[in-house]
Symmetry: C2
């Protein structure tokens, strides 16, 4: 018997117990080309036993490239599932976000068709039937903590898109996770109607609940119950470094300034913070004070959130997933269950990331891009403008709707041959995920540019002055002056650019290994 309760104790709808089987026995339900929909979100609460059994089956039977599926999940899932599937050439379509070296390779070499969508919008559009020919999914595979007598599903460490999609799945396989405590009660599930019958999300504070703890499930659709003892393979949080700490420092100063100006209340407004070392440093800064009685309204809760709670400054956190590290995150959480459990609510992705509550609550949105340009367009997804990393995630959901829209990045990154070879402040972003119309504040370790109310050319001056690395400041200034002069003289200079050389830095990086160009000269022969 498990220390966290038996399968029998978790499956309270007893008629389902005759559907219990080993993961390997579910292979019978799968055929190549199916549309599969999983629970899970930015690796938390995803099914493990069944995807691993399928991978084993493909591997054992040399079905690589023959058994391919279309995979729809709220966001990324553990590498032992999607990334292994990619290695085994088991993925045709993958929506809307992923992580893993092999899946990225498959996408960028053209074997995997990935679609990249605002996560919240994706969740909504799945419920509208926009992603498959008939709007349905062949099999839903969901990790659950428990099943109630009424066949309500208590989910585990994330909500993902289970609530949005459950009624669109023809067959359902449930993985009951008895390898960890039951998360029953942590979720706030609000089942939505389609327009024109949609109802408001009456969330007026991060802690407000509007639904029930369960996703209602049609028991006749459940074809298998599989016991799982595998835990989420969450990533340990990134280490802080001087750059991240400097960025966090600028943001703390900015918050203090905004409070002083009367534009933020003393306990700020609900916070959303992305993932990575900068987000980590920002949360670390907030954990230390001086702001108290804070709340979080975000999509992913990571390890640092535990420090934030422990420090006493954080009152409550709302998210779509509890994405702690396998160790030390989850053990720490489980050891202090009573302390954290009532301070967290997990919501369906289409609600955690919905414009409606994000705007109403006035969320402070903070995310890290690949780079931003002098006019405040940001690239969050495609390195060099063409190579997919992970995807847009929820950055747009929050940045477009936040009270304050903040992006932060180091001012430079190393290239292979030059420690300052890549500037994250460029003349023109080679791919644009967030436009100049959406961003309020840009931050690097060099400083913070508050762009609210600024016109493009003023914005460009301020961004170069505050955010660019000293090594790149003169180069960027030159560009801005040259482009302004040329475009203004022609009467086409609202937002000056020179398209023959706007990407010279990127081209130089490809050719010479650094974006530190010597001049802006260029000769182009159009070969007409």
């Amino acid at each position: 018997m498990s220390e966290f309760g038996t399968l029998e104790s978790r499956v309270r709808r007893k008629s389902l117990l005759n559907k219990v089987m080993k993961a390997g026995d579910t292979i019978q339900y799968f055929t190549p080309g199916q549309n599969l929909l999983w629970s899970g979100f930015t690796p938390a609460g995803y099914p493990k036993e069944v995807p691993i059994a399928l991978a084993d089956h493909v591997e054992a039977n040399n079905l690589q490239g023959k058994w391919k599926f279309n995979l729809f999940v709220g966001a990324s899932v553990g590498a032992e599932t999607e990334d292994r599937w990619a290695t085994l050439d088991m993925i045709d379509r993958r929506w809307p976000y992923q992580t893993g070296k092999n899946i990225a390779k498959g996408i960028n070499e053209g074997r995997i068709r990935m679609g990249d969508k605002h996560l919240g919008l994706f969740a909504q559009d799945v419920s509208y039937g926009f992603y498959t020919e008939n709007g349905r999914y062949d099999i839903g595979i969901f990790e659950v903590s428990a099943i109630t007598e009424d066949c309500g599903l208590a989910l585990t460490t994330s909500c993902g898109i289970v609530a949005e999609a459950i009624n669109l799945c023809d067959k359902i396989i449930l993985e009951v996770n008895t390898g960890q405590p039951s998360f029953e009660g942590m979720h706030d599930i609000f089942m939505q109607n389609k327009p024109p019958h949609r109802q408001p999300f009456l969330i007026t504070s991060a802690e407000q609940r509007i639904g029930t703890p369960y996703v209602p499930c049609d028991p006749d659709k459940i074809v298998a119950i599989v016991e799982s003892k595998r835990r989420d393979k969450g990533r340990a949080f990134a280490e802080m470094d001087d750059t991240s700490e400097a960025i966090a420092g600028h943001i703390m100063d900015f918050f203090a300034h905004e409070v002083k100006k009367g534009r933020l209340p003393e306990n700020l407004l609900p916070l959303q913070s992305g993932v990575g070392s900068i987000a980590n440093a920002v949360v670390g800064g907030l954990a230390k004070g001086p702001f108290t009685n804070l709340s979080v309204y975000t999509e992913v809760l990571q390890d640092t959130m535990l420090d934030f709670f422990d420090g006493g400054n954080l009152n409550f956190a709302s998210a779509c997933s509890l994405s702690l590290s396998e160790t030390p995150g989850f053990p720490r959480f489980f050891d202090n269950w009573e302390k954290y459990f009532d301070k967290i609510v997990l919501r369906p992705l289409s609600i955690s990331n919905a414009p409606e509550p994000i705007r109403r609550l006035g969320v402070i949105a903070m995310n890290t891009p690949v780079e931003f340009d002098i006019y405040a367009h940001a690239n969050s997804t495609l390195v060099g403008g063409t190579r997919m990393i992970n995807g847009l995630g929820g950055s747009g959901d929050f940045l477009r709707n936040g009270y304050l829209k903040i992006m932060h990045t180091p001012s430079v990154r190393p290239s292979k041959t030059d420690p300052l070879g890549i500037t994250c402040v460029v003349p023109k972003a080679p791919h644009i995920d967030h436009t100049e119309h959406d961003l309020d504040v840009l931050v690097t370790e060099q400083g913070l540019a508050d762009l609210r109310g600024m016109a493009p050319k003023d914005r460009a001056k301020l961004i170069i002055e505050k955010c660019a690395h000293p090594e790149y400041k003169p180069i960027l200034k030159d560009y801005l002056e040259m482009a302004s002069k040329e475009c203004l003289s022609k009467g086409i200079g609202h937002e000056p650019q020179l398209f023959d050389r706007a990407f010279k830095m990127q081209q130089n990086l490809a050719t010479n290994g650094t974006m530190r160009i010597k001049n802006w000269d260029i000769k182009i022969d159009l070969c007409e």
Copy 2:
């Protein structure tokens, strides 16, 4: 006495009658450098007498370039105000949208600092105090129909940002328009709190009202009441042409298909349609059938909306402004007042364009860009990537939040020397206002590309096949194949682009007057 009632009958708070003065007498309140906030939206309901008196004053006293103001209005206003001000060099900052040859000239030559923002977001951020140093405005100039005993303002043909900003104005000048009927009762004003005290907008259908007909006003702030008999200088609607009609036809077919597929109800969902000849043709198509019991949830109602009502298919329209033409639009409206009045509600901009009701109602969003690219990024604002036309408007507010997100444009436009010289389907948009993550459907007279659930390279093929002009199809296909081959071979091909030639068509247009290039060859010397 006016046929529409006297000034005395309109100003029901009698103590204000001793503040009645001629427009010219309000000059005393103005000093250069002030932040001015006007009523008005996409020319409707803007103040006329006072701005014209100020322009006369500047002209008479040779104050051009010496009396400059910062001008904040919901959107554009009549040319006799903002464009004349631009001619007289009276504008320093202008937010967030404008129309007029001279104001555009001033912006693109660097004399006027324009900020371009999602209109709904702008309205919200104004209320948060983000656009001026102290968040306040020196003078608010609002056109009203009437003033109640309680000093409630009944607005005229638009709501603009009066409700959002009225409490941030130090002085208020009211223009009471007795040159047209009173619009009292048409508005639904909901006064909002700032976060964390914001309340839901409980709009669950286009006709639902959540507020009162009046904007509450502090009478002590009113420094002048000016009578006006000037009417809005609204533009007559654009003529339909074969291209627009073909586009409208594709959209009608698409709606029918979606109804058949069960993805739209038989009476569709509330419609938003931009301005211009294509929007006109789409509304014209809807007016003719076959869909009935329709509703509109949009930002601007134009002349064609009257046909839509008259045809019997439109039940109700919600907007921020009633922007009819000076003739025949308004006279037709006034002559049939009883027929239209109860079928229209005008809302504050931050509500008409808010993500919350737009997502909840499931609005079908349709707008015209300058151009879109093969991956479905669209340019709505800057011709050639640098020259401002009007601004983003509400296109993003609706496209990002609609149930269906549709953009439509002719496949080609003429250049100065080539009737097919400009393709509106390009390899890479030189400015991006709407990203690939936001658009569902692209339409030209050539056809309709339904991009839902498609990965970038599949999207590109479909867009070229369905939307590009036959003259440009082979050119674009060549580019896609060439870029795909090169990027995929390097393992960087999620969204293939070649940055040395992505803008070759635009460069060729500048050099040779056409985007019809002979080949994709290019020689670049980086001059390192």
